[in-house]
Symmetry: C2
Subunit: 192 residues, 2 copies
């Protein structure tokens, strides 16, 4: 009945959701993977929904935390945005959060759906702040941040569809190439 | 046993797949929606897999045909690309093809997965041709086309996640804004 058991259960659920989704994951599978006793599962998470809420919230927190570590750094905003876009990703596996938008259990549950919405709202805000530091006004920074996050999410969809991580790299390269001249121009640097 | 019955069955399957996915759609539901007799279903489609292959291929053909009608037109390539990106879309419903990348039945079947792969391969090629007409070399045109298709697919994911079609519009606006100055610069026009 320890906090350790709770954390182990959540981690097991996170891993299973990443591979199979929430709808297709049973409490029995979470138990088997975690190695925790059945009594502990029902103590910490009286229902499958309680476990799903905790595990999805943890995945959102983990993923936002790692994005913030890249986007909130001390480097120039252009560098931080490029670092975020170019982060190594297991693209053909799909985004752990983005894929939940196709999970019927997640989309049919107000709490779970709220977590997915919180993820994208906060992620777009993080990226928009970096674009705003580059001198874009708030509305333009928000549009460009939505474009950047869409490129990553779309890159996952294309990589899964084509069975090839190269689709993500190509989508990111195309976006970075588009962002370059505008940044130089905005900085007032001479064009070659 | 007519071709008309076959078409009606395929249309019913396409509509059900668009709403519920392939995995969650039963032959019984397709029969009920189509109004066609059970004998006709089994005559045209001996297995659920045969029906899915025909319906997914038809959705890919329909969607590619409508993209080609916009992208292959007589207008300037910049205009055709913008028209394609700004096409009205029921964004919160998700892409009829893109969502299949999260469907376990589709991803577990070589033929169905091949149809999804064909869709994105041909769509990226269509968009890349328009960028190539703007003077980009083949590799750059391909990257930019992958970015553009990713923005649409990611726009669907964000709109579903946030329950708001505005996310798609914002992602598209951000991309169009990025494409503008580069196009002017590539044309050699003066900057204001």
């Amino acid at each position: 009945m320890t906090t350790e058991a709770r954390r182990t259960l959540i981690e097991a659920a996170q891993e299973l959701y990443a591979t199979n989704g929430v709808a297709a994951t049973t409490p029995r599978e979470v138990l088997a993977r975690s190695g925790v006793g059945q009594g502990s599962l029902y103590h910490h998470f009286p229902s499958k929904r309680d476990l799903a809420a905790a595990a999805v919230a943890q995945t959102v927190d983990d993923t936002l935390g790692s994005a913030a570590a890249t986007l909130d750094g001390a480097d120039a905003p252009q560098r931080r945005i490029a670092d975020y876009l170019e982060r190594p990703r297991a693209a053909t596996a799909g985004c752990r959060v983005g894929r939940l938008t196709a999970d019927p259990v997640v989309m049919g549950d107000e709490t779970l759906r709220g977590e997915v919405s919180r993820y994208f709202t906060e992620l777009i805000e993080l990226v928009a702040q970096a674009f705003a530091e580059q001198g874009l006004d708030a509305a333009a920074a928000r549009d460009r941040a939505t474009t950047a996050v869409a490129v990553i999410q779309g890159g996952y969809v294309l990589s899964r569809a084509l069975g090839d991580d190269a689709a993500m790299s190509s989508a990111v390269r195309g976006l970075l190439e588009l962002m370059e001249p505008r940044t130089d121009w905005a900085r007032g640097e001479e064009q070659a």
